[in-house]
Symmetry: C2
Subunit: 142 residues, 2 copies
């Protein structure tokens, strides 16, 4: 575990006081290069320390409220969590459920614009295109 969780805290917003568990959750998320489910995080965290599944959920909830962690729901209805620094732009197939990350972010301008407005404090955004991937369009998959 090479990364100190302090490195993961944004300087801009008021530094929250995080518990040990919350910090470890951040660290694990940082080590994962992909969004992970709560159950997945739980299994991983268990290797390092005694922790309950409920605590994982509670920690993720706190971290989301801090704007440090974001989540999206995958094709199985399971929530996938990731650090807000990571991409949230996907092409998602309605049939096979596979999500392919997009490298372009076409909304940065609007986001900057919205940030100006005092009416809402933006932490992050999510953009997803839904449809059929090529194999599913051709009827090759379930």
């Amino acid at each position: 575990m090479a990364v100190s969780s302090n490195d993961l805290l944004p300087k801009s917003r008021q530094t929250p006081r995080l518990t040990r568990h919350q910090q470890t959750v951040l660290e694990i998320l940082h080590q994962f290069s992909q969004p992970a489910s709560a159950q997945n995080l739980y299994a991983t965290l268990r290797q390092y320390q005694l922790i309950g599944l409920a605590t994982v959920y509670r920690s993720l909830e706190v971290l989301k409220l801090q704007g440090l962690v974001q989540s999206r729901i995958d094709a199985n209805g399971e929530a996938l969590y990731s650090l807000v620094e990571q991409d949230q732009h996907y092409l998602t197939c309605l049939k096979c459920g596979q999500s392919t990350p997009l490298d372009t972010c076409p909304v940065e301008n609007l986001e900057a614009q919205l940030r100006q407005s005092a009416a809402f404090t933006i932490y992050y955004h999510s953009l997803e295109f839904f449809g059929l991937c090529q194999p599913c369009t051709l009827g090759q998959k379930a």
Copy 2:
């Protein structure tokens, strides 16, 4: 029920053969101006005909696969369904969970661009900004 469900079918894609229930689901969704939960749709449909909750879910699943209906998960983890013609751009508060629709769509260009590529058939997209609304930023709510 003034709207025939045939009016709700896009001419572009191959016309799917919809069951009576699936058609009624489309009609109800059309009457609702806002996204509705499956349970909500179920209650409404019950006023018109005998139908099971499972059938509502199964119908929505079929309609989603046709690209006629889209869903998103609200703050309570409940799926909200709507016709694809309707907006899918929100400002969502992480604290109180309220979603405010945006009127601008900054991604139409990219979507048109992506449609060119044969690698993915786009039905619709969803764009969501997450953060705190003004009352929650000021700590006035929960």
